[in-house]
């Protein structure tokens, strides 16, 4: 059966084809569609879940792998930081059934906080890593990863990047696949219980095994050498992942390939298994090479391995890449960037003629904004109004509501990582007596890593206000369900975990649940809580507008409008536009939330027949 799927879909289908028994993960761009795809395709006998966070997902999967089952865990690169605690330990303990962790890196970064490199995590944890350069390879590699995991009894990392995850390609999947049959967990305390002595012994075993895996990887099918260049004084490119695809795109039209000797031919070396480094393969591939250009994203990992290899084997090779400034440290490698690097370093005339746009008029900037009708806008606006004239610190968090930082709301003073809004509000409370400290957190983030922070704040007697922006979904990553939504990935309706009840259970004395579009109540509640001691919590509850049926659009009555522009200056809704001097509401965008109408000083905005 041929399917046209996203790279993430290819990973999901590869795992199903490999007989995966359990799939768990936490949403995060660019990895979220893996679990969604597993859930969409036939998967009888496979347990699928969105876990509350990546650490929970990995621990669930580790148990499956101890039982001899095959388990897949998915997350974005920041999520691997959260899961690093079980990761570092399970690397020592090892597994029985295949355990494949997919952690999607995000060069750019396009939608992440950092440009960390998953290959370094593999090296740090001492586990093998696979680095696909296309959806087709991702499909094949996830299956290979399960084989290697079981062959060497180790967790294995699959590290795709955004452009692999979000690229579409045709994949041939088997018409029939079934989950693996497995023995089940067998008690063996010497194997499954990590103690210092076990770690001491296993550390040596892991390193011995990795030497073996490195040799095995030297024959791995996706570690390849291409290009006609042979003999002495060969110039080479070492690359991997999407950078490999880009370099290949550049070299396919190089003069040498067309029988023109204007430039020296180039040997293209692709290393798809960065750790354990396939040293034998590299030494062979570098035969006759006197210059290597390492083109890779995120960190100079391969470059450092080539330098080590050259040092150990006494190879006289000039190594260029990020470390000598030839390749930028940050950002993605595009075909155009690769063409420029190849032109500069090797004199290869790669790339196409482009249209000169240096004389183009200035382009409008389009920063991402909260949707028209988004309830977060109303929540932020209420807090902002309530705190007018008072000193306050607004700690943001990860999700759509990070966009509350944009003008004119300007309501995010800090954003660090999942859950940090709550604990940082606590930290500011201990260092600023004169300010009201707010922590904003979304519903999914609250379950992921917010709850422990609330316990910490209550226990340590912080004076702060927690604002849970509850839109009953994980919106930013594509509307995944979570414990508060009442449904799970097995398709079951389950008891909703009530955020207000959790907060009360923790011991937060003042918990209010309000509709953010009831502006007067919202502002009054914030004001009341700001004068109280201790931890106070407001759950701003209103469903995500992208999942609700929009109401009839509002309109501006031009006869009443005094053109004060308060609506535009204060709430920044994309449906509020200007035409000449007049303020208008774009009926294609307006969802009838009524926030602008509730702040208009002359009641010129209405939901009926205004013009």
């Amino acid at each position: 059966m041929k399917e046209y799927v996203m790279g993430n879909g290819a990973i999901a289908l590869g795992a199903l084809a490999a007989g995966v028994n359990l799939v768990a993960g936490y949403p995060g761009t660019p990895s979220s569609e893996i679990i969604e795809t597993v859930a969409r395709y036939p998967h009888e006998g496979v347990h699928v879940e969105w876990s509350v966070n990546e650490k929970a997902a990995l621990e669930v999967a580790v148990a499956a792998a101890y039982s001899g089952a095959r388990a897949l865990v998915t997350m974005k690169q920041m999520g691997l930081n959260v899961a690093s605690d079980p990761l570092m330990s399970v690397a020592y303990v090892g597994v029985k059934g295949g355990l494949v962790i997919v952690s999607a890196d995000d060069p750019g970064p396009i939608s992440s906080q950092t440009e960390q490199d998953g290959r370094r995590y593999a090296d740090f944890a001492r586990i093998p890593v696979f680095d696909p350069s296309s959806p087709e390879e991702a499909f094949a590699m996830v299956q290979d990863a399960f084989e290697y995991s079981e062959k060497y009894n180790t967790p294995v990392l699959l590290r795709p990047t955004t452009r692999v995850c979000h690229a579409y390609a045709s994949i041939v999947i088997p018409d029939q696949y079934a989950p693996k049959e497995f023995d089940g967990f067998e008690k063996d305390t010497g194997r499954w219980v990590i103690f210092p002595r076990l770690s001491h012994i296993n550390h040596a075993k892991m390193e011995a095994r990795n030497a073996e895996v490195g040799k095995d990887f030297s024959a791995y099918r996706f570690n390849t050498v291409e290009g006609a260049a042979t003999g002495k004084h060969v110039k080479a490119v070492v690359t991997s992942g999407i950078s490999y695809a880009c370099v290949k795109e550049c070299l396919k039209d190089q003069p040498a390939a067309r029988g023109n000797s204007q430039a020296d031919p180039v040997r293209l070396i692709r290393i798809a298994t960065a750790f354990p480094f396939p040293e034998d393969f590299a030494v062979n591939a570098l035969d006759g090479v006197d210059e290597v250009l390492c083109i890779e994203e995120l960190s100079p990992y391969l470059e450092e391995q080539i330098l080590k290899t050259a040092g150990r084997h006494g190879l006289k090779i000039k190594v260029r890449g990020k470390l000598d400034g030839t390749v930028p440290h940050n950002g993605e490698i595009s075909t155009d960037l690769a063409a420029g690097i190849l032109r500069e370093a090797y004199g290869i005339q790669a790339g196409f003629d482009t249209v000169d746009t240096s004389d183009a008029p200035p382009l409008p900037v389009r920063p991402p904004v909260l949707c028209a009708g988004c309830s977060h806008r109303a929540s932020f606006y209420a807090v902002k109004q309530a705190m007018k004239g008072r000193k306050a610190i607004f700690c943001g968090d990860i999700g759509c509501y990070t966009l509350g930082n944009a003008m004119p709301l300007d309501m995010v003073d800090t954003c660090l990582c999942m859950g940090a809004g709550i604990t940082m509000a606590q930290g500011f409370a201990h260092t600023h007596d004169d300010r009201v400290c707010f922590g904003f957190v979304g519903d999914s983030t609250f379950f992921a890593s917010g709850m422990t922070g609330v316990v910490n704040a209550v226990y340590n007697e912080a004076d702060m206000i927690l604002c849970v922006l509850d839109n009953s979904t994980t919106a930013m990553t594509g509307h995944q369900p979570h414990p508060g939504t009442g449904r799970n990935m097995m398709g079951n309706v389950v008891e909703k975990v009530d955020i207000a009840a959790v907060l009360k259970g923790i011991g937060v004395p003042d918990v209010a649940v309000i509709d953010p579009f009831d502006l007067d109540t919202a502002v009054a509640t914030v004001r009341e809580f700001a004068d109280k001691k201790g931890v106070k919590a407001i759950v701003f509850k209103s469903p995500c507008i992208a999942l609700s049926k929009p109401g009839a659009p509002y309109a501006v009555d031009s006869a009443k409008c005094i053109n004060c522009r308060k609506c535009i200056r204060e709430i920044g809704c994309p449906a509020l536009v200007t035409s000449g001097d007049a303020v208008l509401i774009d009926p294609n965008l307006c969802t009838g939330c009524g926030l602008c109408a509730s702040i208009c000083p002359v009641e010129a905005i209405g939901g009926d027949v205004c013009e």
Binding site: I110, T354, V355
Partner: protein
């Protein structure tokens, strides 16, 4: 066939569906297809692009600069932003109706797309259409993405048969909207044909 098609616009204009239909139709006609979309933060009111690469020669998922033969631009400034992807001698179908960024109403910048349209007319071979005018009979601009497909197919620049695309529209769009979308496609197709004979 080897062809790179760039589709660009602003989040919410239906560029992703347009790219999916092109990819599916090109595959149905026996081509190897790769494509890529902007997903995530950029979706929310930001600039969006879809790269559709038809043919065996494509290596990277994104179109290299100077390589696209056809662009479907749902917004004039987005056409200019992505002009670097076009090769000489290609064709751009562009919607002249501008989408103002939120920042434009805030800062009072007068962006209305006219300078972009003028620049494009001077710089490149374009078919200019106005989504607001073309979609008036349909009562909503949400059919414009399918109309754009029609214009590109009718102009001959897409290189995919009319029936292949209408077949994909039937397959991918829920039955109750399929007819009106087909009408929009055929209306666009006629515009494309007319533009090419002019």
């Amino acid at each position: 066939m080897n062809k790179d098609v760039m589709i660009c616009g602003v989040g919410g204009q239906g560029t992703v569906l347009a790219s999916k239909i092109i990819a599916a139709a090109a595959m149905e006609e026996g081509n190897c297809v790769h494509s890529a979309e902007t997903i995530g933060m950029a979706q929310r009111g930001g600039s969006v692009t879809s790269h559709v690469r038809i043919g065996e020669e494509a290596c990277s998922p994104l179109i290299p600069h100077g390589s696209a033969q056809l662009m479907l631009a749902f917004e004039p400034a987005e056409a200019v932003r992505n002009l670097c992807y076009m090769q000489q001698g290609g064709i751009i179908v562009v919607n002249t109706a501008a989408t103002k960024p939120v920042t434009a109403s805030l800062t009072g910048s007068g962006y209305d797309g006219t300078d972009m349209t003028a620049y494009l007319a001077d710089k490149y071979n374009c078919i200019f259409v106005n989504a607001d005018e073309l979609c008036r009979p349909y009562g909503s601009t949400k059919f414009f993405n399918i109309m754009m497909l029609g214009i590109a197919a009718g102009s001959g620049a897409l290189g995919i048969a009319k029936d292949t695309i209408t077949g994909q529209i039937e397959k991918r769009i829920p039955a109750r909207f399929a007819d009106i979308n087909k009408q929009a496609f055929l209306a666009g197709y006629a515009i494309g044909e007319r533009e090419m004979t002019r």
